[in-house]
């Protein structure tokens, strides 16, 4: 403790982590990491997926127990073995995976683990009033009695943030807090963060979004492969430098060259409206061969609903879909796949991965009908071949095809899922937030794949909330607003401002 203090003399640190190491079976997840946060500062923690950011935070929060190293909070060494102790010592966390009890009310979630008690009984009135008070301070407009499951994702995220703030913590960890917030909500969050910082709270801000970090953070620490790489003042570092430090190599361009040439129209969608509203209303557009079409919009613009309706997993009330001038009836996913569609869903964990199974299984499963031999048995040989093809052509980093998919990084999991759908030889690839939560290097590879597919004459529809990728990789951008089309723009001739303006058109 004395060493750490002399080393950091002159700086007022609220958190000092030194020499942190953590070993998991077969992997050194953290290797002698140091991480110091100044009192009253926003400290960004960056690194590719698998760099060890989340592991480091879990060690701080008592979810994991570090093997070596020291954690000093406000001058006192701590060694948490449960989240309870961390919370009691003034550390709270906004978790990346929204850790909420969806079946209960907002206020039940906020006070979970520390319900106000009146003798033996829960003091509901105080719970309600305290929740309102917090919401008022943070300018959040939600009913404490509302059920979590009835909220939009972004509202859930605000509830989580309010909860973290309500602990009156000295240190707040925010792990990807803006992943589903709109621009307006992000600036609201930033206002909250700034006022917390001004009150002396140390905020650890984990994000993949460099633009955000440049706006909100004071300091930045970059990790790679479980090791500390650099700690800098944000004002003194450029975006390119950050990326270079993260990937450990020069990455001069975030997007691959756009070599694809859109050809004739292959898909026409006319007056599409889905049955259960609020949802897609009267959407019409055309998609060309070899084209990448972006779908932009705010949270609640019903972009996911659009691709799901096209794919047949949402019922269509009215509307027509033509592929090569042939009218289609995608009444469920099975017919959609047969008709040459593939959908890569937004929620990788819940609707994409078979996480208890291996890479090979995850590769061939959508295409299983093709492997049934005459005698009704599966063609094991072909399955192996195709599994190997996915790993090779998507350059999936995995020790073997029989490795569990859950042990791969997010980016590699996503590559397996893209590969899975390519095995079905789709003509139209629907991708819903294909790069959410994956690191810069893996993003680049996914973009490359998209361009390559377009070059091979396929058409790609990509739903995305990230402006840079919409502008960097698409040919045209369809902007949705409140379930309707607000406009279809040529990517080369448009701007972020125009897209944002259209996003608000039907609100």
């Amino acid at each position: 403790m004395a060493d750490a203090q002399t080393e950091n003399k002159g700086k007022d640190y609220i958190l000092e982590m030194t020499g942190i190491s953590k070993q998991f079976p077969g992997v050194k997840a953290l290797d002698n990491v140091k991480f110091n946060v100044r009192r009253g500062s926003v400290h960004a923690l960056m690194g590719e997926n698998g760099a060890g950011k989340s592991t480091l935070m879990k060690c701080l929060f008592g979810i994991y127990h570090k093997d070596e190293g020291k954690i000093i909070i406000d001058g006192k060494e701590v060694d948490f073995v449960s989240s309870r102790q961390a919370l009691d010592s003034g550390v709270s966390m906004v978790h990346q995976e929204l850790n909420q009890v969806r079946t209960t009310r907002i206020m039940d979630n906020i006070w979970l683990g520390r319900f106000p008690i009146n003798g033996l009984f829960i003091n509901e009135k105080r719970m309600y009033e305290d929740t309102l008070e917090i919401f008022k301070n943070l300018d959040i407009n939600l009913d404490p009695y509302a059920k979590i499951k009835d909220l939009a994702v972004s509202q859930n995220q605000m509830v989580e943030i309010a909860k973290a703030v309500s602990y009156n913590s000295k240190i707040i960890v925010m792990d990807e807090p803006t992943s589903s917030l709109t621009e307006k909500e992000v600036s609201h969050l930033f206002k909250i963060i700034r006022s917390l910082r001004d009150n002396g709270v140390g905020i650890i801000y984990i994000s993949h979004k460099i633009e955000e970090i440049k706006k909100i953070a004071d300091d930045i620490t970059i990790m790679r492969d479980g090791q500390w790489i650099a700690t800098e003042t944000v004002a003194d570092i450029t975006t390119d430098q950050i990326i270079n430090l993260m990937v450990g190599r020069d990455l001069t361009n975030r997007f691959p060259p756009k070599t694809n040439e859109p050809g004739e129209v292959i898909l026409r969608v006319k007056n599409l409206t889905s049955v259960v509203q609020p949802s897609v209303k009267d959407v019409s557009f055309e998609l060309k061969k070899g084209e990448v079409l972006g779908v932009a919009g705010l949270v609640g613009a019903r972009r996911t609903e659009l691709v799901e309706t096209i794919f047949g997993i949402r019922q269509m009330a009215t509307g027509e879909i033509y592929l090569h001038d042939k009218k289609l009836d995608n009444k469920n996913a099975e017919t959609a796949i047969r008709n040459g569609f593939a959908l890569i869903t937004e929620e990788r964990r819940s609707t994409g991965l078979f996480s208890t199974l291996d890479v090979r299984f995850n590769s061939f499963i959508a295409n299983i009908g093709k492997y049934v031999k005459k005698n009704k048995m599966l063609d094991e040989h072909k399955i192996k071949e195709d599994g190997d093809w996915v790993i090779k052509s998507m350059s999936v980093k995995t020790p073997s095809p029989t490795t569990l998919i859950s042990s791969l990084s997010g980016g590699n999991q996503q590559k397996v899922i893209v590969g899975r759908w390519l095995l079905t030889e789709p003509e139209i690839l629907l991708m819903d937030e294909p790069t959410r939560g994956i690191d810069v290097g893996a993003k680049f590879e996914i973009y490359q794949l998209m361009i390559e597919l377009a070059n091979r004459g396929k058409a790609v529809i990509m739903v995305s909330s990230e402006m840079p990728e919409l502008l960097g990789i698409t040919d045209r951008i369809l902007v949705m607003s409140n379930g309707r089309i607000a406009g279809i723009l040529n990517t080369k001739e448009t701007s972020q401002e125009e897209i944002l303006r259209l996003s608000a058109k039907h609100l």
């Binding site: 929060f61 979810i63 449960s82 989240s83 309870r84 919370l87 009691d88 966390m93 978790h95 995976e97 850790n99 909420q100 009890v101 969806r102 079946t103 209960t104 039940d108 979630n109 979970l112 683990g113 520390r114 319900f115 008690i117 033996l120 009984f121 829960i122 259960v276 997993i313 949402r314």
Partner: protein, 340 residues
């Protein structure tokens, strides 16, 4: 928007109240076949039969809310019934298990068996929360263990495997007695115990930290952990409470029947779990109300009693009960799937 009374709305109502619809439908059939079914006497009988069952269902209901299950319920009821009966045989009965036993205050054996079943149930909780055994497996094992235990206790000299009968009047009256109001209309003591139990458990579920925490653990265990909830403690508590209720209900069951064997309570867990599911509890955890459990138990009892009353073949009754569970839950889950 104007609320219209059309086909869509009626269908929605049916879907949202599937279980009540099932109950009403069956009642109509039963009453149509035998109009005498509507009588105060039958009502009193149904309520008193439902009384012990609701106590069991409240026990396992908490475990289901916390995303568990308990297959050892019935055997624990049997253990409680046999032990409490053996300690409360009347002093002039010829085949007493303990011929020299003094006359005990009735409350003593009841409290004793509650402690015993609480211990067995806590062992379930330990297996589930400490050793991470799936609740289905842990309680399946416990079911067999408890049966073995009951049988060893039950089948031994001097009289061997004889039903434990000749129960003390004080004990049987506890369950068979009633407050007479007028004619057939009386309030069985059992109904009073059940009502008190329902109120106590309702308070525990809705007004205390215990209740909020079991809903949180069942709804999202991960979230509960990171919010600082002691998952081990509350899992133990919910199992412990269940054990107490099994012990209490089990002794009442012995008093109600007037005897007990090592087969008393056999398969009660299926009725209790079915009633919970009919009452809207979800095996996914985090969902359920006391009202639902009570309604679920009543539906079950009305059906069982009614079908017997109109003379339906007992084997056919099994088939009907099974179908009701599956159909009711199938309609019920449409609530969630229709959202898409």
């Amino acid at each position: 928007m104007e609320k219209k009374f059309n086909r869509e709305n009626i269908l929605d109502w049916v879907v949202n109240n599937a279980i009540i619809v099932v109950l009403i439908g069956l009642l109509i059939v039963i009453i149509a076949v035998s109009p005498d079914f509507v009588s105060v006497r039958n009502l009193v009988n149904i309520l008193s039969q439902a009384s012990t069952r609701v106590i069991f269902a409240l026990g396992v209901g908490g475990i289901i809310v916390a995303k568990g299950t308990d297959l050892s319920l019935g055997r624990q009821v049997g253990l409680a019934a046999v032990i409490s009966a053996s300690l409360l045989q009347s002093s002039d009965y010829a085949y007493r298990m303990y011929p020299d036993l003094q006359v005990l205050p009735v409350i003593v054996p009841i409290l004793l068996v509650m402690v015993i079943t609480c211990c067995f149930s806590l062992a379930n909780g330990l297996a589930v929360s400490k050793f991470k055994v799936d609740p289905f497996i842990a309680t399946l094992g416990m079911q067999i263990i408890v049966y073995g235990t009951t049988s060893i206790y039950f089948d031994r000299p001097p009289y061997g495997a004889q039903p434990v009968g000749g129960l003390d009047k004080r004990f049987t009256n506890l369950a068979q007695g009633a407050i007479n109001i007028a004619g057939d209309f009386k309030i069985p003591y059992l109904v009073i115990y059940a009502t008190i139990t329902i109120i106590v458990v309702w308070i525990l579920w809705n007004k205390t930290r215990f209740g909020k925490n079991i809903f949180a653990i069942g709804g999202n265990q991960e979230a509960a952990i990171v919010s600082g909830v002691n998952v081990f403690k509350y899992t133990m508590l919910v199992f412990g409470l269940a054990g107490l209720l099994y012990g209490f209900g089990g002794s009442l069951e012995a008093a109600r029947i007037g005897s007990a064997t090592n087969n008393t309570g056999n398969m009660y867990e299926l009725d209790a779990i079915s009633a919970c599911i009919l009452g809207g509890l979800s095996f996914d955890g985090g969902i359920g109300t006391i009202r639902g459990i009570v309604v679920g138990v009543l539906i079950f009892q009305v059906i069982a009693y009614g079908l017997s009353f109109i003379g339906v073949n007992p084997y056919l009754q099994f088939i009907i009960k099974g179908l009701i569970i599956v159909i009711a839950v199938a309609i019920d889950s449409r609530k969630y799937t229709r959202k898409k």
